[in-house]
């Protein structure tokens, strides 16, 4: 019996081969499903959950090479290990399979002992990758986790054009001193759930959470066509979610909560910082500083959202923002024109 039973998808156009391979993997303690060509296999992969694929090369409709290419191009399938089982002639075909991402190649008829060893090694690796992914996604967003997996944790930054958004809960620190602790954490969790949703649904990622404040990035690691528009849309969504939250709070005779949001757009240096054991995806640069200053300046202006001129320039024409000219922002020599909502 297998140490780690898996669900194996067997893809082969030949009935004798399908029967024999199903029997072989079932005798090893795994579950087997079969597809008789590549096209059917891709449909099954999209609909079901498989731990590994045993793939034939010579098949009508969609052959093994085409299946390997399709899997390689689809991030959601890329983690399914593929072992090619074939009696195709020529070492160049074997090389091609490996180059297209196959984990291994087994010559048909497949030797029982070899099959057991390869299956268990591939399933172990898959299990480890799944565990890593689960862990990563808990501490980072899906985008960052994917970027990390693809870049292989390469530390090293790149300069990208991005919009940075800072958001802070108003008066929350004072409230936390009088409120009971359980309630404080519950409010924070609700707040974060709503803000994450607003940021993620507009293509951004949240890369910092400090107390009741958060920092979100639009344009890195995932590229976006118009980062300013996405960040601003997220800010509007955040504001309307806070309205909903406050309706609830008022109904429960609790004080409404306010947020301040600052957005700045420009070049930033983005990348992973930290050590091998603990790293975070972040970005630095004057754009980041400006966004943080704008967020805190909302208290001075008495408004919910402040943006810099570059963000305002990226918004579509219909957006009504009030220009606040010549504002002195700490850390910036010349006075800046900013825009408030």
């Amino acid at each position: 019996m297998a140490d780690r039973p898996g669900h194996i998808l067997i893809v082969d156009d030949n009935k004798v081969n399908r029967l024999l391979q199903s029997r072989s993997v079932e005798l090893l303690g795994h579950q087997a499903s079969v597809a008789e060509n590549g096209r059917i296999a891709m449909q099954m992969l999209a609909a079901g959950d498989y731990d590994l694929m045993l793939l034939d090369i010579e098949m009508p409709e969609m052959d093994g090479f085409e299946v390997l290419e399709a899997i390689k191009a689809d991030p959601s399938l890329r983690d399914v290990p593929v072992i090619v089982t074939s009696s195709v002639e020529g070492i160049d075909n074997v090389v091609r399979c490996i180059e297209l991402g196959a984990d291994d190649y087994l010559q048909k008829p497949v030797n029982k002992t070899l099959l057991r060893a390869r299956l268990s090694s591939s399933l172990d690796k898959k299990h480890l990758r799944d565990e890593q992914k689960r862990l990563l996604e808990r501490f980072a967003t899906t985008e960052v986790a994917q970027d990390l997996a693809e870049s292989g944790f390469s530390i090293g930054g790149r300069r990208v054009r991005a919009s940075v958004l800072f958001c802070d809960l108003r008066g929350f620190t004072a409230m936390s001193e009088t409120n009971d602790p359980e309630n404080t954490i519950e409010v924070l969790n609700t707040y974060y759930t709503l803000m994450f949703e607003a940021v993620n649904s507009n293509g951004g990622v949240i890369n910092q959470m400090i107390g009741d404040g958060l920092m979100a990035l639009f344009g890195a690691p995932q590229e976006l066509e118009n980062t300013a528009e996405c960040a601003f849309a997220a800010a509007l969504e955040m504001a309307s979610m806070m309205d909903l939250l406050n309706q609830d709070r008022v109904a429960n005779e609790e004080a409404p909560l306010g947020v301040g949001i600052g957005i700045a757009t420009g070049d930033v240096v983005a990348g992973y910082t930290g050590t091998q054991d603990r790293a975070t995806y972040t970005c630095v640069g004057s754009t980041v500083n400006l966004a943080a200053r704008l967020e805190s300046h909302t208290k001075v202006v008495g408004c919910g959202v402040l943006t810099d001129a570059a963000t305002h320039a990226g918004l579509s024409d219909g957006t009504e923002l009030t220009r606040v000219p010549g504002v002195n922002i700490r850390g910036f020599d010349a006075p800046l024109d900013i825009y408030s909502l």
Partner: protein, 111 residues
């Protein structure tokens, strides 16, 4: 061709790996269903000058013959797969090898 029709060690390994009963069922599937169907496909592909189907069918027959250790049949099918339709071996040669393999394999399983 001086190949033996069947390599008994391959058949023994199949019986050991998959179980004797399953091996017998699998052989029936090959000899009674899949083999004759593939030979018919091969003939049709020859008549229609369908190069792809011809090569793929020869490949499948080779692959199945190897499962049971039918060496002579596998070698003829492999030859057809590699050379293709243009310099085709007569399908009749393959049919004769298939019949010989069938008789030998059945004799071995009964014996």
């Amino acid at each position: 061709m001086t190949d033996a029709p069947v390599d008994p060690s391959v058949l023994a390994e199949l019986q050991d790996a998959a179980g004797a009963e399953f091996a017998a069922e699998l052989l029936d599937t090959f000899l009674d269903e899949e083999g004759p169907a593939m030979i018919a496909d091969l003939k049709a592909a020859t008549d229609a000058a369908d190069v792809d189907t011809y090569r793929r069918t020869a490949h499948s027959i080779k692959s199945n013959a190897q499962v049971f250790g039918a060496t002579a049949l596998a070698n003829i099918a492999r030859d057809m797969e590699l050379k293709g339709l243009d310099t085709a071996t007569e399908v009749g040669v393959l049919v004769a090898a298939f019949e010989e393999a069938a008789t030998t394999l059945r004799g071995m399983l009964d014996g």
